[in-house]
Symmetry: C2
Subunit: 111 residues, 2 copies
């Protein structure tokens, strides 16, 4: 299992339940109980998913009086967006260069 | 192991060697040998990584005469970018609403 932080964030997002938890939290903070209610899986399983999300910094757990509140921390998504956008852009630029190259060939052919 | 396609793409990206292979291919198509030369890991390990990338559609393998060429297919990154941007945007909008709400409170306080 790769241990660099970007790999860990990608791995944390590679699960539909964890992404659904983040989607719920992107609408507002929630208690552990509120999140658990949304899913037909066991409390230990939810707890395990939350641990993964907390470890990579996507979820923050705060305790106020008897309430444990979960908040989305979107900062780790910045590195993911940066990597993905960079590789989509590289590809677009390559296509642009190829297109320009083909245009040049066409012009030379018809001169 | 989750089997939905978005989870599979996230999982494929959750490895530094696989991301490095994609980075190499984002600069241009390459043969399997050229990709293998870049990494100090065994040929079977490279082959395994390439299989993962092909399975999710991020790499296409074509065979021309004796050459096996690898090409980046960035389309699966669209769904990743969409998910990530959506969740970053949701969060930004929540912060904007919170800020607007605090402004309203402040205005009421000082009237």
């Amino acid at each position: 299992m790769a241990q660099d932080s970007l790999s860990q964030v990608f791995a944390a997002l590679a699960d539909p339940t964890r992404r659904a938890i983040l989607s719920r939290l992107s609408e507002g903070a929630a208690t552990v109980g509120q999140v658990a209610e949304m899913f037909a899986i066991s409390a230990p399983a939810i707890s395990q998913h939350l641990k993964v999300l907390e470890r990579v910094g996507l979820v923050e757990r705060t305790t106020t009086a008897q309430w444990r509140t979960l908040t989305l921390r979107p900062e780790p998504l910045d590195a993911v967006a940066e990597w993905v956008d960079h590789h989509r852009r590289d590809w677009d630029q390559r296509l642009d260069r190829l297109e320009a190259h083909l245009d040049t060939i066409n012009e030379e052919e018809y001169q």
